[in-house]
């Protein structure tokens, strides 16, 4: 019996007959991992609640401003009317600045927790080529970043509609500029999430990677703004958030904001951040001992 088992498995080209890891299987494995953690579901829920909440708050705020202007406010009515229109268009994605942090942190944790818990030893023993694991995590990162932002913004817009209605304001969720802005924000959050994943793979430390991501998205723009000089004013345009602001102008029916790069340039810069960080993450994952 004993030798039978042995020869049976190793005589006739065992590698042809025994299924091993391929990308679809790893994708399935990562799906099980992703969905089996309570923390993941809580973070996802927080992200959606945040987007909806901010949209509702924004709707209420715009309504209040509009009412005070109508009741004899100080600002010129034409200028106010223009601002309100643009604010309403951007309203569904109002919470993105905060939602991106939640999604970014989630993406960091997807890979850093592998290392902090020791799960990485089991994961990379099962998939010793390693890259499919990161690629699969990348797929879920993109899906989660994009879908969470779009769905959260959409629900936010629906919740905002009756609130705006109270002030005789109207939000058309089907309008080109509304849809355009929501989709571009969803792309942006997916990009931030990919940066988070890459930082997680690079640093293997949850806190360190999240802090780095926050620094990149929030702290650097402020520092660049505080330092005087043309160089930093110009360099600031190349930071991820400012590049994203340029991207958000893509396809806009209004005039382009000259404070930003061209939309296509902004898109490329943002993509470059993602590609460079992900590349470094892949190399680190391949080279470094688990």
């Amino acid at each position: 019996m004993s030798t039978a088992v042995h020869s049976h498995r190793h005589s006739a080209a065992p590698q042809e007959r025994l299924a091993g890891p391929n990308f679809l299987r790893v994708l399935n494995s990562e799906r099980i991992k992703f969905l089996s953690l309570l923390s993941t579901r809580i973070l996802l829920l927080c992200g959606v609640v945040l987007l909806v909440g901010f949209a509702a708050l924004q709707a209420w705020g715009i309504g209040q401003v509009t009412r005070s202007v109508q009741n004899g406010g100080t600002a010129g009515p034409r200028a106010e009317a223009l601002d309100t229109t643009s604010a309403i268009l951007h309203l569904p994605a109002a919470g993105v600045s905060f939602a991106q942090l939640i999604v970014g942190a989630l993406a960091v944790l997807m890979i850093s927790s592998e290392f902090t818990t020791g799960m990485a030893r089991a994961t990379f023993a099962a998939v010793p080529t390693r890259w499919p694991v990161m690629a699969a995590k990348g797929v879920y990162t993109i899906v989660v970043g994009f879908v969470l932002t779009y769905v959260g913004a959409y629900i936010g817009g629906l919740v905002a509609q009756p609130i705006l209605g109270n002030y005789n304001l109207h939000l058309d969720m089907g309008a080109w500029d509304v849809q355009r802005f929501m989709l571009l924000n969803a792309v942006y959050v997916a990009a931030v999430a990919l940066m988070g994943l890459a930082l997680g793979a690079l640093l293997r430390n949850s806190a360190g990677a999240i802090v780095t991501l926050v620094a990149l998205l929030f702290v650097l723009p402020i520092i660049f703004q505080l330092i005087p000089g043309d160089f930093f004013t110009e360099a600031r345009k190349y930071l991820p958030t400012n590049a994203a602001d340029a991207m958000f102008e893509a396809g806009s029916s209004g005039a382009l904001n000259t404070a930003y790069l061209e939309p296509w340039q902004g898109t490329l810069i943002l993509a470059a951040y993602v590609v460079v960080l992900l590349g470094a993450g892949f190399v680190t994952l391949r080279q470094r001992d688990v």
């Binding site: 004993s2 590698q15 091993g20 890891p21 494995s29 991992k33 010793p128």
Partner: protein
């Protein structure tokens, strides 16, 4: 089969594994024995493709781990510390690993059953005891029904029933013709489980032989003699090549003479002898002897200078006695 050739791992200034060459054969339990920090875990991580060797190579069933198309079906491992996310259930953990190789859910249930985790499979790993964690690690190792099983300190934290279970499991796996490679710093466990022993100290192989040979090569056979005239009888037995110790009153431990010639001497000189017991050299003794220069973390390194190089010191070398853990083993060995 696992084959390591001149395998080395250097971390900065520290050499964890220093060019080891060994083969782990199928069909038997091979013990990997060494003090803490000797390089056992590093070697096992290199086998599993988790750490890249600084030098040399290691293959599993003829190919480096990373080359295998279905690695979990070739070799399963329980590596030191837990390799589980504590927020997941045992079942999800095993399912996620099984999914990478298209292993059906039926097999996941099987290994859960086999390792006795049925009652806690749907509970989060966070709440597991050390023993449960070890069982889960063993379940993960067996998931792919692998031909080679590597277990790093598998009995750590297990209750006595669990220890017996692991012992029987590895023996059963070996009897099926599988390669079983088992690390431990517990000599008593090795003595009961392993057929073959690879002893490692400070990253180097100190012995690679059947367990009986390791004991035989290192420990000298001795005989315990109880007599009411120990001084006189020692003088009678003394000659070159014979070592005599007096561990307690009226007891002699004689090396270099077989019980028969001791009895003959007693008869010739009319000395009353009321015990004559051949002493088996224990694995502990053999191990202490092998590793006495290679214990990485001893409390005072200076002790090595006191070590007299006299080979007449029998199974209880004076040098080892000055290292902190030695006295215990000496006593155990004497029992």
């Amino acid at each position: 089969m696992i084959q390591a050739t001149d395998l080395a791992k250097v971390y900065g200034a520290k050499t964890a594994v220093d060019g080891v060459t060994f083969t782990v054969q199928p069909g038997r339990v091979t013990g990997f024995l060494g003090p803490n920090g000797a390089g056992k875990s590093t070697t096992m991580r290199m086998i599993m493709g988790l750490d890249a060797p600084t030098r040399g190579s290691v293959t599993v069933n003829g190919a480096p781990y990373i080359r295998h198309r279905a690695p979990l079906r070739e070799i399963g491992a329980l590596l030191e510390a837990r390799a589980v996310h504590p927020g997941r259930t045992a079942y999800s953990h095993l399912s996620s690993l099984a999914a990478t190789h298209g292993i059906p859910a039926k097999r996941v249930d099987e290994v859960i059953e086999m390792t006795g985790l049925g009652a806690v499979a749907k509970k989060k790993v966070k709440g597991f005891s050390l023993g449960m964690g070890q069982r889960l690690g063993i379940a993960a190792a067996l998931l792919g029904d692998p031909q080679v099983v590597v277990l790093d300190e598998p009995v750590n934290g297990l209750d006595p029933e669990g220890v017996v279970w692991v012992r029987n499991l590895v023996k059963y796996l070996a009897s099926e013709g599988r390669t079983v490679f088992l690390s431990s710093h517990l000599m008593s466990e090795m003595a009961q489980t392993a057929d073959h022993l690879i002893v490692i100290g400070r990253g180097r192989i100190l012995a690679d032989a059947p367990i009986a040979d390791v004991i035989a090569s290192q420990g000298k056979a001795r005989t315990r003699v109880r007599t009411d005239r120990p001084e006189e009888f020692s003088r009678l037995l003394a000659r070159s090549g014979v070592t005599i110790q007096t561990p307690e009153h009226e007891v002699l431990e004689v090396g270099g003479l077989d019980p028969r010639s001791i009895a003959q001497t007693a008869l010739d000189h009319q000395v009353l002898v009321y015990e004559l017991t051949p002493l088996q050299a224990s694995l502990e003794e053999a191990y202490m002897q092998l590793t006495k220069d290679d214990v990485e973390y001893r409390s005072h390194d200076a002790s090595r200078h006191d070590e007299p190089p006299t080979p007449t010191a029998d199974g209880t070398p004076a040098g080892a006695a000055s290292s902190p853990q030695a006295p215990n083993h000496t006593q155990e060995a004497a029992r």
